[in-house]
Amino acid sequence: MHDKNFMRETLLQGAQAFQAGKLQRRSFLALCGMAGFASASVLAGRAEAAAGEIVMWNWGGQSEECHQSAIGAAFTKDTGVPLKFDTSGPLQGKIKEMVDSGNVTADVCDADLFDAVALGKTGHLEALDYSVIDKTKTIDGYALEFGISIILYGYAFMYDTQAYPDGPPTSWADFFDTAKFPGTRSLYKWANGSLEAALMADGVAADQLYPLDIDRALKRITAIKADTIYWGSGSEAHDMIVNGEVSMGMVWQNRGRSIETETNGRYKLVMNQALAMPGAYIVPKGNPGGADVMKFIATAQSVPAQLDLFACLGMTPTNPEAIAQMAEADQPYSITSAANMPNIALNDPTWWGENTDAAVNAFLAAIS
């Protein structure tokens, strides 16, 4: 689903911000200029696929560069097959439309693992070839028939240290407690992550979340609706915090680092009870590049590729070997690092793959 938006945002701006946590706060005009530029490049970015090459369908921007240098270079060196990009953003609806139309022009989509479940079920995806791809080079349970997680991102929240000087919030329970922690909140508006956060606030254990009790979650969410605003893109979540619109805001965890830097530490990231989200590679049914795409996915699992992607985009690696090799300073911001792992929840792509429509629509009905 949209962590499509997540992808796009991360790739266009967040990644840069991450990489350069040093970046000065830009004026909004500069931001907008960038957004305009980025959308132009997104529009420009469709490659025509042909046999003998692999077309990656992603969100463009920084991600195109990062994928080319982290994976594409090594892949082309090994196989002689070039990597190209379609940067128009592989939303579930678009993949379905492409496959249904019979004119498939992409080989691999930079998507979510629940997309693999949803679109695999309806026959829109190729099954992965696990004789080429290594199931052990990802988190347990994130190697599925129609998709495999290559990187992770996640939902966490940040709070205003000045709003809560004596006793900062430390959990989702605090986040949803507006009596004890007054102030405006922000949540992701398309259900994902927000539902899990509400359930954890309501006392559900991190490993008992699924199947989600949607009604129970929405009760928590509507209880603080008057004090909540909802974001649909990473940059919106980012702006809501740095502009001081919220005293606690849900964010995509990998943006936390740059927001902390940008606000000179006024806002702080809470990784406790963060929800890890598996970003995945999936292959549209009838992809033009054929079996080569499996080799490409295998290349993406390699330790150097994984570390390069983290350096370039700030996405946590899924290959345990790569996680182990990460620098000490990066560990707190890597959602599955040894220190974070015991305190986080893991997204269940199967539940979301089967229940996205019900969950999203119920969520929208509750907040609108």
């Binding site: 689903m1 949209h2 499509k4 909004f28 005009l29 931001l31 907008c32 957004a35 305009g36 939303l91 579930q92 609806g93 678009k94 379905k96 949803a118 405006t184 949540l187 508006k189 398309w190 609706k225 605003i229 909802y230 974001w231 649909g232 919106e236 702006d239 502009n243 001081g244 619109e245 996205t356 429509d357 999203v360 629509n361 929208l364 009905a365 907040i367 609108s368």
Partner: protein, 279 residues
Amino acid sequence: MRLPVNSGWLLVLPFLLLVGGLFLGPILNVLWISVTDPTPGVQNYAQLGSSDTLRRILWTTFRVCVICTAFSVILGYSIAYAMVHATGPAQSRMLGLLLVSFWISVLVRTFSWLMLLGRNGVVNSTLDALGIISAPIPFMRNELGVLIGMVHYMVPYAVLPIFAAMQSIDGRVVQASRSLGATGAQTFWRVYLPLTKPGVVAASLVVFIINLGFYVIPAVLGGGKVLMVAEYISVQVLITLQWGTAAMLAAILLFGVLALMFVMSRFMKLSTVFGGART
């Protein structure tokens, strides 16, 4: 020998077919999907009766569009009036500013509004610094924010048709009214406004129809709580894959707009029968 139809039509026939195909094709496709996805039948339309959410979204959309149209047209009318009565150079400067505003992207506008009227925006911090308010005024991230953003976006669209209608008014008609003893207000309500009515109707239609498709402004400035049809359709197409629901809503919008145009065209025809704008 005479052709059964004017031969001119034969020349443009291929283009008509092309345009018809490109235009009608997708519309028919949407209608088709709305009665076949996920299963054949009218169950998508039946949702309108059963789903409070859909009705609420449609009602929100309608309400926001109507209010926005009203404000845009009133503001547009005032601006057009000022432009028509400005001197040559001032008028072209105003027109220039108006056209430039068409080029400002929606993203820039929404961010500008947040900077200006947001919780810690220029206005709230100024009022706060002056001690006029104790808590920030919630201009943004609610329906008011959506309306402000949409009206700002739509005003130029409202100005142009009204401006054109005003320009076509013979100034002597207004003088005649005054010479006959009508006050300024009487002249406005009884002569000026009726003569600009075609422009007002055109502006209202344009603004209302464009409003129906608004997506980014409500999504951002509404803080997620003002859900309008366009955004909902896009979610259904791209995320929840309920294409039948999306197509049904698109069809409802389409029929709504057609019905509106039909009503308006009757109304406009009557007005032309009764004299219209041209003298």
